[in-house]
Symmetry: D2
Subunit: 351 residues, 4 copies
């Protein structure tokens, strides 16, 4: 599914050609699939791919790594080291040392390492982040973020539920990092410490599929992050509420083209994507206009569109896409949550 | 805007190449634009384009006509007559005689004439239509459809507000036909007569920007259609409620990935795109899955995807896309509404 | 049910004592019921009741007539003529001559005839009416009102479905008058003509349970009123949308403590009962405060509270409760709708 | 405000007469107010009142204690000891020893001590509790409760913000106890331990106005409770989501007449107060019916109505109103939260 989403997103704005790739562990199946989607250059091995593509004048500019978490590091490293930019699914790696290493390689080689926390590419999330930076909310006093999905509310057989592939803290790594990134993106604040309780909601599951986390933010404000994939009956369940001294915001992934703004008197204003009064940050990622919903693939395409800008060497915007540093901070967040849980939910300082 | 939407939609599922075209009345600007989107074959005149493309072995399979209403007929006719399929924006033409002619030409030449009432391509609209056909609602007893947009709630300078280009009954032709098609698509019923009151809500406007219509449906049930682009503060405003003896349905374009089903006891069930229990009609036009909103461009891409199936000669599905006949029925609806209005909102029989 | 609602409403603000009454056609059952709710003076006949109560120093100030429509006239007349104020359920009577007579009797006898269109007593409806009068919406350009209830979506055996008791045009008389009053109350406009199509949605029903109506308002603006009790799956279904040149309003009975205000740019503001910035008209009928929902009984109590003010001789407020004139206008509306229907939905001028 | 709510609620169902009382610390003002609401017997001192009322044949059956928290204990004790039932606002007292004492006195004297956590008296909360007991959700796996009000999002001068009167942990005592009770009431589970982080969101405030709490429930499931009165822009903010293996529930105080039920496939069913298929627990506290919203005062009246049943000696229902034990558990919850906070949010076992 997520591979298809990457491909849809690349196509939407006509800025990418999918020219080369590996599409699974089985070479025959990979080749067959590649042909079905008109990809010309097919490889069996990512090392070989990195070398050959780097050697071509028309080699790929960027590679998307969409594999189970435990293989991210080796694959991303191979491309980054040889000078090819990488989009690497989150969590960037399973440990912060290797995540830091990837970020450092990208930095030193002058290539881009981008991490597709797609939700921060929605127009109304961009607008929310702009409102906070404009001071429309005043000082941030509390944040409640949650990614409480129902996709694995029943037993499922998938690599994410295998501790060896996705780690034990699946809820934090798989969905918690999205909620955490969204919080950082909108507020512009970092977390300084975390307390986490991990638990397993679905009987028999071998990983933690639920996590309740407290954060202290860099301005001293408290925050909570709830992450689970076992929220029976929920759709995607990604939602954030940001409370400031002067106003509060709410955004939900099930209704992404709207942003709720609440004023201290109790009134709520619903802002809609496409309104003429929104910020440029929202307007520049709006394709159709007011009343024409844009969804997940459009947000994904926004990510790729911003990436294309960066690949062309354009100076970054203030509100753009997450990179290696954000990926590293996400992995540190997962590690700290696990450390806290191991110590009975004690506070753990973040790097 | 609508031209860009066509292009986005063609790209999304990777089944089209935009190979040739005319992009405006000014040849130089058209050529420049074509180059910017990598279109190879650029023409100044649609007749010339139709002849040359028809003569090529690799000529275009289908042409999208996205011009003001008054030019639809001549352009569509040129391509259909020479054997090239056409996607023609609604209303198909400004009079039913020419619409019927286009439909007949397509029929006799064995090519496709498709009309992009995009809203019937949303997954949850497809599911609604399936529920009605399954008998889940029982006999249809009433339908309330509305396309009450706010896009022209203030004065705007646009060809749709010029009686010479879009006709007087803009509200019916521009948005009313969408609501009417949606009603026909979901219920599977035709309208046998219409009573219409047209009015102008925005002072100084030269066309009718508001229409309240009553229909009698082919099963005898009454229905209403409200069409306007002057509904101050509305976003898109397309919404339909279908009431049966056993249940009712509601769908709104502002929240397209959900469908509300109400039971006689007063309970409401919200169905969500991506649920495993939905019909194949919904599932086959769902790209990502539960909790991942798909919007207007995805619906547009569904239209083009179904069209691609038809262009490849696959037998049509029961729930597919609107064609020339639907376009003709839409134009007849506009004409009947105007006739009714002229006769003080008297009932007018539809053909 | 409606009798109990009257009693609850009288009690809530402690301004009434239910001192006398008739509680059904069967004297024994009436007496038993009266005793169960501690009513002291019990009568078998309304004429006797009117005479005796009028003769007492501590006789009742006001009587509530909560009987089937066909008995309203005689009962209300008896009390009004003898100088006792009356609350009479809508429709006031089954014909406008008798309604006009009741209004005239009340006027000449200096007593109050009040008609419990309760919905106009909700705080947020009062606020909506104030906003219109303040000019916040600009000129009213269109109104869409509906009372589309599901209470009789299936077959029911009740006096309202008996043409002899409730008249043929049940949908207009029973629920349409509520929507119509709400429209008049909020906009401050009258209707000058109506076109109505009446129909029967539930097979076998002997009355019209559905009505689609067009109005022309006194400022020339068009409006629609949809009235039915056969909207399968709806709860109460009373909803109004008022569109002005500068903003629009929406209120729904299922969420009565909120009022939606839409601005031309597409933004929506949700106002909540209890906000400090609301008008005095809303504030004076708010008992608890922000976030504490008040419902139907509180609205009913608002009606009785305003009535108590009037009974004490306080000068009326601009935004108060409907009286005999409103009841008469409601009956005229029913008659005009029936006349229009009989003439194939032709326009009928209102008095 | 809360005193007025008690009086409204007592009146609504006509089962109480407010016969005696003290209405403030100033005897003259108290007497004047008592007269304005027709209370006959006015006292200056609660001890005197308890003695005199106990001595009368027609003395009060029950007293409502609606004073700042620090006076609850002495006043409630005086009445309970002398054999008069008490409704005492929450938190029952400021420490669990005195709360336990009150509960014990009530028990040994055979009188009722009731605690008005009103929210558990809403029809749809009762229905939710019934669904859980019926096993409709399966095993409870997670609960997220919050009472995040905006009533004190700005600085306010009130006894609740005075540590000497309301205690330091205002957020837990004032609103957290409501969310906690709601969780216990609906799930039928107790909490075995709590971890709490208290904080002050409004600059300069002397009490903790925010609390994020984790619970472990008696079946081992994790839960969270968020309590604050500083959630900028929120109305009442009371909301609960209960997740079971087979379904989940959501209820919000801003829309109290509906209950959301989510099934594992992602569908949501909205149940509405008044539906014929609801449980008797919901039906017996429904006054008007489907589509007629009942609000806070009706819920409060439900509380008083159930209390009246108990005062008449009727055997308690399974789903009735909170009593002294519930009040005690609430106070223990506050104490444990404070203890946890003092120990850096460590887990604290509940009695």
């Amino acid at each position: 599914m997520i591979g298809a989403a990457h491909r849809h997103a690349m196509r939407l704005d006509n800025q990418y050609v999918l020219a080369a790739g590996i599409f699974g562990r089985d070479p025959a199946a990979s080749a067959q699939f590649a042909e079905s989607i008109s990809v010309e250059r097919i490889y069996d091995d990512y090392r070989e791919m990195s070398k050959r593509e780097a050697a071509r004048l028309d080699g790929v500019d960027v590679v998307a790594v969409v594999t189970p978490n435990d293989s991210h590091y080796e694959i991303a490293k191979a491309f980054l080291e040889i000078g090819i930019s990488v989009v690497c699914e989150k969590p960037l790696t399973n440990d912060s040392a290797s995540a830091a290493e990837l970020a450092a390689i990208a930095e030193s080689n002058g290539v881009i390492l981008a991490v597709p926390h797609i939700y921060s590419a929605y127009a109304m999330v961009r607008h929310a982040a702009r409102m906070v930076r404009n001071g429309d909310l005043g000082r941030i006093r509390f944040v409640a973020a949650e990614h409480a999905s129902g996709w694995a509310a029943a037993d499922v057989d998938q690599w994410r539920m295998d501790p060896a592939k996705g780690g034990m803290a699946t809820a934090v790594a798989d969905v918690g990092t999205h909620a955490f990134h969204l919080l950082r993106y909108i507020t512009g604040l970092e977390a300084t410490r975390v307390s986490a309780e991990l638990s397993t909601l679905v009987p028999g599951r071998r990983v933690f599929d639920n996590a309740t986390m407290r954060l202290t933010l860099s301005n001293g404000a408290p925050a909570t992050v709830w992450a689970t994939m076992a929220a029976t009956g929920h759709e995607h369940g990604l939602r954030i509420r940001v409370f400031g001294d002067d106003a509060s915001l709410e955004w939900r992934h099930e209704d992404p083209q709207h942003l709720l703004v609440r004023d201290p008197d109790g009134g709520t204003t619903i802002l809609a994507q496409g309104m003429s009064t929104l910020s440029d940050d929202a307007a520049r990622v709006t394709r159709v206009g007011l009343g024409h919903p844009e969804g997940f693939l459009e947000a994904f395409a926004n990510f790729y569109s911003d990436l294309a800008d960066m690949l062309r060497g354009n100076p970054g915007r203030e509100l753009s896409i997450p990179t290696g540093t954000d990926g590293l901070i996400g992995v540190q967040f997962v590690e700290a949550a696990v450390a806290s849980h191991t110590d009975d939910a004690a506070w753990v300082t973040l790097p």
